[in-house]
Amino acid sequence: MTFDPILLARIQFAFTISFHIIFPAFTIGLAGYLACVEALYLKTKNQTYKEIYKFWVKIFSIIFGMGVVSGVVLSYQIGTNWAGFSAKTGNILGPLFGFEVLTAFFLEASFLGIMLFGWNKVSPKMHFASTVIVAIGTLISAFWIIAANSWMHTPQGFIIQDGIFYPTNWIDIIFNPSFIYRFCHMVLATYLTCAFVVCGVSAWLLYHKKSVEHAKVMFKMALFFIAIFIPLQIFVGDLHGINTLHHQPAKIAAIEAIWETQKGAPLTLFGIPDEASETTKYAIEIPRLASLVLTHEIDGEIAGLKSFPVDERPPVLPLFFLFRLMVAIGFAMLATGVMGVFLNFKQKLFTSIWFQKWCMIMTPSGFIALLSGWFVTEIGRQPYLVYGLLRTRDAASNIASGQVLFSLISFVVVYLIIFGAATFYILRLIAKGVHTN
């Protein structure tokens, strides 16, 4: 039985990158949170903050380490399994990755050592500086990788000769049309993902009456952050959608399962899109809402899937459902923030048991929303690797399917072992509560 080597390569990349993104999704936000907590400690000299810092930094180091090793895999995989992609886009994407390593990775890695182990070796100010530098490093890293990824979606600043991409304007390449929306949306997503983990963990501690003083502080910090930044994230998401409609209309048509080009398109809340018949069965629609959301005009026009040739359309079913999952979680997050503010106002924030249970359930919400969103945008770019210019199936390496199957199975097995172990250790650390001297 032979598998299509390109399909295997795609599965392998999808698997390894999905795994990888979970870790920075948490550590970008957590690094920022640790910087805040340490700042509060230095300002107020309240030991509670230092203890909160030491609680989370142990978890941070595990997740950061996983991010590093899974990231190394990706950087080499672009070469091993996507040789066509490397050769053709290397002139443009190579420097972007190179700068990510030069300006972000080294920074994070070097100062992480001081952050984790240097408490007694450097002054408190230097230690704080190290935490801040690591937090900035993670943001710089996000900058470069989003620049590279968004260029693949909305390429500009280049010419093509003999199938090879050549850069003509680096500012255009980096600050391409979708860059700013993707960057803001992702950074906010990582900070919110972290906020929900902190919120959920502190809810758990409150519920089990462990480290109550610390849990109260963390719970309140997380919820205030959520309350302020979720509405902002929804707003950024809306702008991102409008930008995507402009540059990748086939993707939007697939996400919304809009088959016919129309003005005043309805929003399909739920249904089963059927590509064979080019209709959506059992659709529950809200009239005109899709146009309103995506063009900010009741009668805005949205291109339908039928206006694109079949080999230019991304798969509809996964996009339709995953997008709805992401948005549903987004609104659940909004509800959480609103409820948190309301309960705080009523002085019931730490006593409402049902809310603690709700927050515990919401702990992984950021990860699920983030992964769904990434699946939507990356699957939505198909059949292209570089939108409109280089198809995924034309960019793979010439490797026998046996090799790819071997590496795919190896990665799945190893990642599951490692991820399992990490989860075990993190849960054990959380269960111990915050250590006080």
Partner: protein
């Protein structure tokens, strides 16, 4: 840079289970734990840099070395997480799992790198700018030998690092290990150096034809001297010299390699001019590197300074 830095922490991992006591092992790990992440980043820069500066070469070399690269990545995963997980364990048995992970990951990563080195020297089959050979081409007696040689080499780097960073029992043990390893490394260097010119006529001509013999002879001679000084520094129980001399030895071997392989970035068909990125990309990279690399070296040196001195065996945090 990658070899100098990650070389010693992989070396520590290779030597790990041979240390006399549990305390020694903790000291060994503590001597590298603040640095491993930064050290491994040089590997990412190596891969990323190859992609950026020589995309054609990157797209040929990576698939050609598919199997050892995957093995190396898996090895590095096990090595990397071992650092994190070992500190979180609560029983000796649990710790033993991650000790093993640290060791086996280091061995696999090193061996894979050595195989890639040997296969690289042997050359890669290229047609029309793509790799056309077989995935198993890179695994043969020469590359298996270079794999083993690199294990000895990194172990030597690791043991001389430990002489600097540990004391008493661990340091004494490291010194004994280093002494044995010098012999193994010397034999490996001689073996590789003698075998290589016979792999490819070009290399043979480069080293042995006419006056080249005289111009290039200083390099093996310098390597020989370095080995002598290294042995002497071990006998005289110097602390920093062994590590520095080992680095020098690696540098000389590297120089010999570059001379043998010049001007190819994909031996023996793609020269580095052919494999390079377009000049607009290269100049951007050059500007970036010349500004940023010195800064990186500064704060890397700073972090080594912060963690200077002998490592302890206690919990680090």
């Amino acid at each position: 840079m990658y070899v100098f830095l990650d070389g010693f922490d992989l070396g520590v991992g290779i030597l790990f289970p041979y240390a006399p006591t549990h305390q020694c092992r903790s000291k060994m790990m503590n001597s590298v734990v603040p640095f491993w992440d930064g050290n491994e980043t040089w590997l990412v820069l190596g891969g990323g840099g190859l992609f950026a500066a020589f995309p054609l070469a990157f797209s040929i070399i990576m698939p050609a070395f598919y199997i050892p690269i995957i093995a190396m990545l898996l090895g590095l995963i096990f090595r990397g997480v071992a650092f994190e997980f070992r500190f979180k364990t609560e029983s000796k048995k649990e710790q033993a799992i991650w000790d093993f992970s640290f060791h086996i990951g280091s061995v696999i990563a090193t061996f894979s790198q050595g195989i890639m080195l040997g296969a690289f020297i042997q050359g890669i089959e290229v047609e029309d700018g793509t790799f056309v050979g077989n995935s198993f081409d890179c695994i043969n007696s020469f590359s298996l030998m270079t794999g083993l040689a690199l294990i000895f080499g990194y172990s030597l780097l690791g043991s001389t690092w430990l002489i600097m960073k540990t004391d008493r029992r661990t340091a004494e043990w490291s010194r004994r290990v280093a002494s044995s390893l010098v012999a193994l490394v010397a034999i490996s260097i001689i073996l590789v150096s003698c075998w290589t010119p016979f792999l490819n006529d070009r290399i043979y001509d480069k080293w042995f034809s006419g006056s080249n013999i005289f111009y290039l002879a200083p390099i093996p001679f310098a390597a020989f001297l370095t080995i002598c000084f290294l042995v002497r520094s071990l006998i005289k129980k110097r602390e920093k010299q062994p590590f520095i001399l080992t680095i020098l030895l690696f540098a000389l071997c590297y120089l010999g390699l570059v001379i043998s392989l010049f001007p190819f970035v994909v031996p023996y068909q793609i020269s580095f001019e052919q494999g390079a990125a377009v000049s607009t990309s290269l100049s951007l990279l050059l500007v970036g590197i010349s500004l940023i690399l010195p800064i990186i070296l500064c704060y890397t040196a700073y972090s080594y300074y912060v963690f200077r001195g002998k490592s302890s065996h206690g919990k680090m945090y």
